[in-house]
């Protein structure tokens, strides 16, 4: 058995070697975030946490990506729940998944074309006489509330949520719904006892993927955001490529903190889903 084990680890070797590259980047980033003039120090982190710009950016980032994630999940869940038999057919499914084919940047640009003050919708409303000038159209892109960012992400991630939830919904036996009915349960009981436990693991997984992506991705907020408050990724980019090199360690420190947050969140989700109850849900007894 030992030789077999060795062979398995050998098979892992190429991917490990490949992972060395990003791993080196990460270690270097962590290293730089903890050093000033080649001395180990927490100074960068202290400076970061004292920076009003960073705190505002963090709050704005968390708010924006949490909103985008939750709205995507709820819309995706509702669409899947009510249309999954329809979505199992090829054409509707492909139509729903269409936004996934476009890069985020392209989708963000499209949102600007459609929803900016001089965009397609605004011009159509003007032509129809609903508004008299483009200044009456609400500011939905490059706004300080992150509405444009949220709209882009929701539009883009809803298909992803459906992609994740559809197989789960298709696999729920309809007899379970009948069972709850014969035991006296109503619609809410059916959702709570049949659907929710089935989708919960995938739901949490999807939340983590969408949340960590929207929290840290650069292109959409760069395109659709404002300069203050800005998303963490935009701020870090600024610090990294800014005129002085002094801010670089701050960029690293910000990204390290962000990664740490995502790792902790993932660990919490992992521990939760490894509780006996949710393991049993997957048919595992130990």
């Amino acid at each position: 058995m030992k030789s077999l084990k060795n062979r398995t680890s050998l098979l892992l070797l190429p991917s490990m070697l490949f992972l060395l590259l990003p791993l080196y980047g990460m270690v270097a980033a962590i290293h730089q975030s903890f050093s000033v003039n080649n001395q180990w120090t927490l100074q960068n982190y202290i400076q970061l946490l004292e920076s009003e710009r960073f705190v505002a950016s963090t709050i704005f980032s968390l708010k924006t990506s949490l909103a985008a994630t939750l709205i995507s999940l709820v819309i995706g869940l509702l669409l899947t729940r009510y249309f999954y038999t329809f979505l199992e057919r090829n054409t509707p499914r492909l139509m729903v998944w269409l936004p996934m084919l476009f890069p985020h940047f392209v989708w963000g640009y499209m949102v600007i074309l459609v929803l900016s003050e001089t965009g397609v919708v605004s011009q159509m409303l003007q032509a129809a006489g609903w508004i008299s000038s483009s200044s009456e159209f609400p500011v939905w892109t490059r706004d300080s509330q992150g509405i444009g960012i949220i709209i882009t992400y929701v539009w883009k991630e809803v298909p992803f949520v459906i992609l994740m939830l559809l197989p789960v919904y298709s696999s729920i036996k309809s007899e379970y719904h009948d069972l709850v009915k014969t035991l006296g349960g109503n619609r809410w009981h059916r959702f709570k006892t049949v659907e929710w436990p089935h989708i919960l693991p995938v739901f949490i997984e999807t939340f983590l993927i969408v949340f960590s992506f929207t929290l840290a991705a650069y292109e959409v907020p760069a395109l659709l955001g404002t300069t203050f408050p800005e998303m963490l990724s935009v701020l870090s980019y600024d610090w990294f490529y800014g005129s002085s090199w002094d801010d670089r360690p701050l960029a690293f420190a910000a990204m390290v903190l962000l990664s740490l947050g995502v790792i902790l969140l993932t660990a919490a989700a992992y521990l939760f889903l490894n509780k006996k109850r949710w393991k049993a849900m997957r048919g595992r007894s130990t």
Binding site: E175, L183, G184, T193, P197, K276, A280
Partner: protein, 319 residues
């Protein structure tokens, strides 16, 4: 004495296809009715209608004197035990059993009593994935009972179990229901199971009951050729006449004077309870029967003798 369940002239149509028609029967408190019939004949549809999961096209269902035909499933005092146990995988045994009782705000002490009576006290905090097939089905039964239904419906609940366990479960469930005098309907395609489980047996075919009687009556006076063939204890001679197999002989001398004679062939010899059984094909009637056989072998041509006085007309108590 009021009847627990009264079904009148039930009809069900899917598009143009008639699944059930003119189906009537009644059940007294504590009675167990087996419904037996070929697979795919609509037995499950009947149960689903009784449970309220589907609406009948016509007819009425009266329970404890109240018409419940238009009541939804969750407002009916009926439980259904499915083919699969369908336990909630993320709930413990105890939580599963309590589920329906909690919704109905019933006394939870009684449900804990149920846990004891299915012999799974030690498994109260286990999850379904830790139970065997038979244990799961016992929990499913306890969960169905916890809502204290007026009637429990069983839809081939043992079909997913292996044969030995299935046999054990039949006796166990039957005793469990009888001891508590729980009114129940037990659907199966297996006549043996129907005979073990039911006080009365309803033979279901082509959308309605061909006959509904105690087992002995079914055998002594089958209502028609379908019933006689399904039970297997008779030779059907034509659509009006049959002869019990106990009066079919393989030698002329046993059958008395002037017997009717049928040409036949032994298709196969098997053993049941240590006795050789010949599976005999009667060419002239295009019927197959099974008889104890001694001197014949596979492929032998034989003659079947039946005393004319033993040939009877169909028409036992039809419903």
């Amino acid at each position: 004495m009021t009847l627990t369940l009264e079904v009148n002239q039930l009809k069900k149509q899917f598009h143009d296809k008639s699944i059930l028609y003119d189906l009537s029967f009644e059940l007294h408190k504590g009675e167990i009715l087996s419904i037996v019939g070929p697979s795919g004949s609509g037995k499950t549809t009947l149960l689903r209608i009784l449970a309220g999961l589907e609406a009948p096209t016509d007819g009425s269902i009266v329970m404890q004197g109240k018409n419940i035909t238009d009541k939804k499933a969750n407002k009916r005092n009926v439980s259904l035990v499915f083919q699969q146990p369908l336990l909630f995988p993320h709930m413990t045994v105890k939580e599963n059993i309590r589920y329906g009782a909690k919704i109905a705000k019933k006394d939870l002490k009684k449900t804990d009593q149920l846990l004891k009576s299915i012999g799974l006290e030690l498994y109260a905090d286990h999850y379904p994935s830790e139970l065997s097939g038979g244990q799961k089905q016992r929990v499913a039964l306890a969960r169905a009972m916890a809502t204290e239904p007026d009637v429990i419906l069983f839809d081939e609940p043992f079909s997913s179990l292996d044969p030995k366990l299935r046999q054990e479960m039949r006796y166990w469930v039957r005793q469990f229901l009888v001891e508590r005098s729980i009114t129940s309907i037990f659907v199966t395609h297996d006549i043996d199971e129907a005979m073990i489980m039911g006080d009365r047996i309803a033979l279901f075919h082509e959308g309605t009951f061909q006959q509904i009687d105690r087992l002995s009556t079914l055998h002594e006076a089958p209502a028609n050729a379908f019933v006689a063939r399904f039970l297997g204890g008779h030779l059907v001679i034509d659509s009006d006449h049959y002869a019990p197999l106990s009066s079919c002989y393989l030698s002329a001398s046993d059958a008395g004077e002037d017997p009717r004679t049928f040409e036949a062939a032994v298709q196969q010899v098997t053993y049941q309870n240590g006795q050789a059984i010949g599976h005999i094909y009667v060419d002239e009637l295009n019927e197959k029967v099974s008889l104890p056989i001694k001197h014949f072998n596979h492929n032998d041509r034989i003659k079947l003798y039946i005393a004319k006085s033993m040939i009877r007309r169909f028409g036992g108590s039809h419903l």
